[in-house]
Amino acid sequence: MNKARFLVVFFFGMLMVLVVLPEFMHQDPLMVNLKQKLQPPSVDHLLGTDGLGRDLMSRLVYGGRNTVGTSLVILILSLGVGIPVGIFAGYAGGVIDRIFMRVSDSFLAFPDYITAIVLTGLLGPGVINLMIAIVAVKWIAYARLVRASLMAEKDKDYIHSARLSGVPSVHLVVKHLMPAALSQLIVVATLDIGKIILMIAALSYIGLGLQPPTPEWGAMLNEGRAYFHNAPLAMVIPGVAIMVFVLLSNLMGDELQDGLQRGQKGEQNHDHS
């Protein structure tokens, strides 16, 4: 459990760095200075400059705000859409549930990347459309997870007795049914932070996401590509940054999952004894 706690603290620490650091930086990530292009690291430019003479360090930090920030917004939106739909489908059951399952089946048949690329393609490149496209891909998993957990839980005795004693439906869902789904939701959401970051970066790399000159890690890799030979840092650093965040999200998710399984096993053993 200590390892999980450490990872979570570390992750939030990195987030804080992205939030706080720009306040202390004096370089403008958008300022072009062709005289200063492709500079090696120096006191003025801690990581050197890119092909247009923009300060890499500040682009990296502001880019992180954009990449990671956008991924968190997308995650929250996906949860915001997925959870209510899942509750509704699971609680209503019957025809509504069957329609939901059919629709989500056909959505899930398509690989994430193809759906997201085609959707941004149809809507046009840009941040808002990118967010719509990824939310459209991601909400389904949450809705299905909540629905499955609700289905498993709603016929248990304690729910029946709560209902018999006159507990209103809303209260039942919020106080009893949702907590059962919560732990699993947290695990999936943690793993998804990384997946969403990868997706934003890939789409921005091919020019469908955040538009230049806005700093974004995937787009920065695209810009740095031409100068790999003269300024390798411009290609290496954003990639490493993406990897670190995705790695953190994967490790955190794995660790939480393990903890969850251990917890469930412990509960079962307890039941048997």
């Binding site: 056909s106 048949a109 398509f110 690989p111 994430d112 990347y113 193809i114 690329i117 085609v118 959707l119 941004t120 393609g121 149809l122 809507l123 046009g124 990384g194 990868l198 970066a201 890939a202 790399y205 091919i206 020019g207 469908l208 995937g218 890799l221 590509r225 790999f228 030979h229 290609m235 990639g239 993406i242 990897m243 995705v246 790695l247 994967n250 490790l251 794995d254």
Partner: protein, 313 residues
Amino acid sequence: MMTKLGRRLFEFILFIFLLSLISFCGIKLAPGDAVRQLLRVDDVAVTNEQLEIQRELMGLDKPVMIQYVDWLSRFIRLDFGNSYMTHQPVTQEILTRMPATFLLTCTSIFVLMGVALPLGMYSALHPQQWIDRVSRVLAIMGASVPSFWLGLLLIEGFSVRWPLFPSMGTGTFWHLVLPSLTLGLTMAAVYVRLIRSSLLQSLTQDFVLGARSRGVSRARIFFFHVCRHSLTPIITMFGISVGSLLGGSVVVETIFAYPGLGKFVIEAIHNRDYPVIQGYIVFMGAIIMLIHMLTDVMVGYINPEIRLREGRP
């Protein structure tokens, strides 16, 4: 078995129908005027008269319902119209690029299996030894690396600094090396762990003990009994990831300027070439659905438990 196949076929037709509806609505909802888009591609000034004529020609002046029926009837004949970019029929354009993408997918699967099978098997047979630990680290790293970044690093390493392989285009076998490594290696990460855990789980089954007590050799048990038992989750996962491979190929084809379907659709998106995007959605949907069906049939064939359970009334 037959009724199951029939049901799958019905589902398939329903899915394709739904797909046609979705791709039709998608185009209708997309911003921008398709007529303007078509005429703008040639980069000449457009008069209102031309717009009207083209609109009538494309049947865009009719009510939406009629337009959909028109689109559906052409859809059944696999006619998606002409590409705005090349002025060639979309179906033909897609079919000429299909083999290249298919080839890349196959070589990537080859890389994927070449890495994941030995590592996964060895890790399962010798858990907690150093290869297992290394493969665990590699797996989690591999799942975190952006595939396009890996592709760029491979180009820099093996094409620019150390010119072993060509970095873009197609033609020879060597052109396939770097793209398939990029796609295969990032996907292999997940498989190493999946194969390991699946094999480990099979190794603890009762039938292993049974076979050992009958004096069957360890190697035979592993390769014939355990491996077969482990195949079910691996094949299921495989069916899902062929789709992801096709999705990943979009990015990888763009990096390596590989003239496949993925690169074509990105070009189409940048040029707002709607007929091509429509055609792409339908083709991909059909292929992915077919692969899912194939996976189901194979799993049923390999795992008698599932076959028998579903055979019963």
